[in-house]
């Protein structure tokens, strides 16, 4: 690997002036844009797939929001699309659950894991650490195509006659193990498990590549304490992924055995469909332990990259160093470590030993401390800044707001005594949609707005970005804030309708409001989609460093070719956050500027190390 890197460097050293065209002639079109090994192309492939999945995941949420907001509406108009899933103008309850399940699966895995990590880890790691490409371009390509395959399988499952998996994205057995229990647990579930297995392979290939690249391919001078926080976040995210996804794989595998080969890992003493099954001695709770051993770190797999992106954007656009760089790294490490030992807070009321509940409550509330540090550090970064509101900056501030609002309610849910009442109510839905869903989604949007010029050499339209932000930001709060009230009133999750209960017969108008807001937020995203695709072709041409940022990616040409830098890879002399340093005439000093060139702004300890 290092040998090939040297080879590429040599190659570039020799073919200095004609490298750009040179590369184009070398590779056939299909290797350049489809089966590409270039990290930038792969990143764009992930991004476009992520956007397509996000549209679909959002659309599914509208289907069930229409059911919840307008329970008496005649839905016959959906019949041309949904066919038999609409009976007598009503949505089929199992299809409702299928939509809930698919929405969760798509958003968590296909949009916020693949779409976010896949896009930005791939795009930024080589560019920001100063590498020609990923450690293994081939594995990187495989990673995307496994993801693609996984997407195809999941997409197919939506169209089969028994419906896609419908037992919730957490697919708890026995419900997910027994086709007798619901029709989605038949072929739909098989496809779900197949798709997830492929997804895990993709994720592992990607993560291993990210880790290797960050450890081995940093340019000269790029020590770990000079890495941008984006890279720190991607690095730790990849490690979490490598450690936790295999556990989901094992859970899925055991579930496959239970479903198809008659084992009893998760099944015991079941009477269903008029017969007693022979399975005995399995534990349904075991699956939940395995699932949440991934499931909880997954929250941070989704969130940490968004926080990393935000750190970078907030610092750049506040024209200030990120406050507490070391504390930010420390809190990422602490969160990552703790994320592995809090999983059972999803299981307080499963009948798990209450003593375990106490331990997990304690550990869960500890994780609030590094999270709080991060939030405070963002706010301190804004303080006395000189803030420029690019759309990326707006989305980053929005992310911090969501991170705080949603994080706070986590303190309530992490308290097992209070969780008894709130578990599996809309309070939980509100909590994780704000802190994990919306925050990460905002991180992704912020990243797209910020690095679009580097990806496509053109700028996205600012004003459309502003409109997109304000509509989405306010809309998200209108959608998810009232869900807290609904949760406090005890409304359970994944209910097709609440009207059967006296206790849950209220809040019809609030649910309607949520649904209307959700529909508006969904359509507001088309402003972004228009802006995105329009700007790829017709946007204003970007300058070299449009945000006056310090990180290395802005030292590449406007449209970096294969190998990223036409000449030598720049060396790094300083950390990435030298913004508004006293004594310097500009308000930023890029990482590749040696201290010897900035004599007026250097602190006493800042000298170029002897080479």
């Amino acid at each position: 690997m290092s040998a090939s890197d040297i080879h590429i460097q040599d190659h570039h050293a020799h073919s200095h002036d004609h490298d750009h065209e040179h590369e184009h002639h070398e590779l056939p079109w299909i290797r350049q844009y489809i089966f590409s090994e270039d990290h930038k192309i792969i990143a764009k492939q992930y991004l476009i797939s992520g956007i397509l999945w996000a549209i679909m995941g959002g659309l599914f949420s509208l289907i069930f929001r229409i059911q919840l907001g307008f329970p008496n509406a005649d839905l016959s108009w959906m019949k041309p699309v949904l066919g038999e899933w609409i009976q007598n103008g009503k949505l089929d309850p199992e299809f409702y659950l299928a939509m809930v399940t698919m929405h969760g699966t798509i958003m968590v895995f296909f949009v916020l894991t693949a779409g976010l990590s896949g896009t930005f880890s791939n795009f930024l790691i080589p560019l920001q650490i100063g590498a020609r490409d990923m450690a293994s371009g081939f594995l990187n390509m495989l990673s995307f195509w496994f993801f693609f395959l996984s997407s195809v399988v999941m997409f197919t499952s939506i169209f089969i006659s028994t419906g896609p998996a419908s037992g919730g994205w957490v697919i708890y057995p026995p419900l997910s193990a027994l086709p007798q229990a619901m029709s989605g647990s038949g072929l739909g579930m098989t496809l779900w498990l197949t798709s997830m297995a492929l997804f895990i392979v993709s994720s592992l290939l990607g993560s291993l590549n990210y880790i290797t690249t960050i450890i081995n391919l940093r340019t000269k001078g790029m020590t770990f304490d000079r890495l941008p926080l984006t890279i720190w976040a991607f690095f730790i995210t990849a490690i979490i992924g490598v450690l936790s996804f295999p556990v989901l794989f094992s859970a899925a595998l055991l579930l496959v055995f239970d479903r198809s080969f008659g084992t009893s890992f998760f099944l015991s003493e079941i009477y269903i469909g008029g017969e007693a099954l022979s399975n005995q001695g399995g534990s349904a709770i075991l699956f939940q332990h395995l699932f949440w051993f991934l499931g909880h770190p997954e929250v941070y797999i989704v969130l940490l990259p968004a926080l990393g992106i935000t750190s970078e954007i907030v610092a750049t656009n506040s024209r200030k160093p990120i406050f507490g760089y070391k504390a930010m790294i420390g809190s990422i490490l602490a969160i990552a470590f703790l994320s592995f030992i809090v999983w059972a807070h999803h299981m307080f009321i499963t009948g798990m030993n209450p003593f375990l509940g106490s331990i997990f409550m304690f550990l869960t509330l500890i994780i609030a401390v590094p999270s709080a540090v991060k939030a405070f550090n963002y706010i301190a970064t804004l303080w006395k800044g000189n803030i420029i509101f690019t759309p990326a900056m707006l989305f980053s501030i929005g992310l911090v707001s969501f991170f705080i609002s949603g994080g706070l309610t986590g303190i309530i849910l992490g308290n097992s005594a209070i969780d008894i009442q709130l578990h599996d109510t809309y309070f939980v839905v509100a909590h994780f949609h704000i802190v994990m869903g919306s925050a990460s989604f905002f991180g992704m949007l912020a990243g797209v707005y910020h690095w679009f010029p580097k990806m496509f050499g053109r700028m996205m339209d600012e004003r459309l970005g502003y409109i997109h932000f304000w509509l989405t930001f306010i809309g998200v709060y209108i959608v998810f804030f009232p869900m807290h009230y609904i949760g406090i009133a005890g409304f359970p999750r994944r209910y097709y309708s609440w009207t059967g209960f006296d206790a849950f017969n209220t809040f019809a108008d609030l649910n309607q409001l949520i649904s209307i807001a959700a529909i508006l937020v969904f359509f507001a995203q088309f402003i972004f989609i228009f802006n995105f695709f329009y700007s790829i072709f017709k946007g204003r041409v970007s300058s070299l460093n449009p945000w006056r940022s310090n990180t290395l990616e802005w030292t590449t040409p406007i449209n970096p070719g294969h190998g990223n830098w036409p000449g030598d890879i720049p060396h790094v002399y300083r950390w990435p956050y030298d913004y508004s340093k006293k004594g310097h005439n500009e308000d930023f000093i890029p990482q590749d500027v040696p201290f010897s060139q900035t004599p007026h702004s250097n602190f006493p300890h800042e000298k170029d190390s002897q080479e």
């Binding site: 309850p93 026995p174 709770i285 507490g324 501030i397 609002s405 308290n415 304000w470 005890g490 059967g500």
Partner: protein
């Protein structure tokens, strides 16, 4: 035809929007907006943060007033009072933290918006400050953990002796409950014994089964500890008694428990809520399939005397299914009560709501 009109209208609207967009871009280019580092948009966005915060806090306050009317009534169980208290105390702390941090987050952008002649303050860290905002949350968390831990251990401690034992079983898509009868002991069960008559899989060779009864609604005595023995026979369900702040999963193959003390009778609640039709309800909170949303079961809390009377008035399973019991356990026929009324063939499923029960399996 209408569809075509609608589509045409949508296309037209989009075309108009694109033209407007194009025009504003061109005019911005002409005005030289892109040559300046920031445009007027910067000030507008900065101001919007403040406006959104103020309006948002107002909306928060107003919506809370509106919504709190529909929150659940005060808890009807002893532990519920304490967990509710813990919830609201925690909530108060969080709302304070929420308002302070968000206020800073929305006001700083306005105060420190870009000005050409100013340079940001190079301020990379401050260890004292960082220590403060690490330690304070840590202390608050520690306090919350202590109170939470105290409540949690009390709630999950073993049920006191003499608690009323009631078995509750979830199935697709209904709840069924079984009372131990006069002997206070629930008969053994085995899932292999389950059939159309014997929904619980009761072991008729166990003499303790003979006084067990399976009512159509669940009754609790007020002021006495009640221990729920919870199980499921097909998939995971979850017992949720919102008014009692009780929730516990029902897991096939792994019995679970929850004990609590009901503190208000149904008639008391009818008075308090001013709703003459008020009923305690039991719901399912773990997704279990098509009818998940309809697993309603009515719960009644009686005065102890009424409760005993109600219990005495219930026919036992054995008396309702004499022939069945006799066939399963010929040796214990002597335990069967004398035939009084004609036994019903099958005890009807106890859900009263319109659940499409058990129809899905064959779909």
């Amino acid at each position: 035809m209408t569809t075509i009109y609608i589509l045409a209208a949508i296309v037209l609207i989009i075309a108009i929007l694109v033209v407007i967009f194009r025009l504003q871009v061109l005019s911005a280019v002409l005005k030289g907006r892109y040559e300046k580092r920031v445009g007027i948009g910067n000030d507008i966005n900065a101001l919007l943060f403040v406006i959104v915060f103020v309006v948002g806090v107002g909306a928060f306050w107003y919506s809370y007033q509106q919504a709190s009317e529909f929150f659940l009534p005060a808890p009807s169980s002893e532990h519920g009072v304490k967990t509710d208290q813990l919830f609201w105390v925690t909530m108060a702390i969080l709302v304070a933290a929420f308002l302070v941090t968000n206020a800073l987050l929305y006001v700083f952008p306005y105060i420190y918006k870009y000005k050409e002649d100013r340079k940001a303050y190079f301020y990379p860290d401050n260890h004292k400050l960082e220590m403060i905002w690490t330690i304070i949350p840590a202390l608050v968390m520690a306090g919350l953990v202590v109170f939470g831990y105290k409540e949690w251990t009390a709630i999950t401690s073993p049920a006191p002796k003499g608690a009323e034992v009631i078995e509750i079983m979830g199935k697709q898509f209904a709840w069924q409950v079984r009372y131990p009868g006069k002997d206070g002991v629930l008969g053994n069960y085995n899932y292999r014994n389950i059939d159309a008559v014997n929904e619980f899989g009761m072991d008729m060779n166990d003499s303790a089964s003979y006084d067990d009864f399976i009512p159509r609604e669940m009754h609790f005595p007020v002021g006495k500890p009640v221990l729920l023995n919870i199980r499921a026979r097909d998939v995971i369900h979850s017992v949720f008694l919102p008014h009692f702040r009780v929730k516990m999963d029902a897991v096939p193959g792994m019995p679970t428990h929850f004990w609590f003390v009901p503190t208000k009778t149904t008639s008391q609640m009818r008075e308090e809520t001013g709703n003459a039709k008020f009923n305690y309800e039991l719901a399912c909170t773990e997704v279990c399939g098509r009818g998940h949303y309809a697993m309603r079961f009515v719960v009644v809390v009686d005065e102890p005397a009424e409760y005993e009377k109600w219990k005495a008035s219930q026919d036992t399973f054995a008396s309702l299914n004499r022939d069945y019991a006799a066939e399963k356990a010929p040796k214990l026929v002597s335990l069967l009560p004398a035939k009084k009324v004609e036994a019903t063939e099958v005890s009807a499923p106890s859900d009263s709501t319109a659940v499409p029960a058990d129809t899905t399996a064959t779909k």
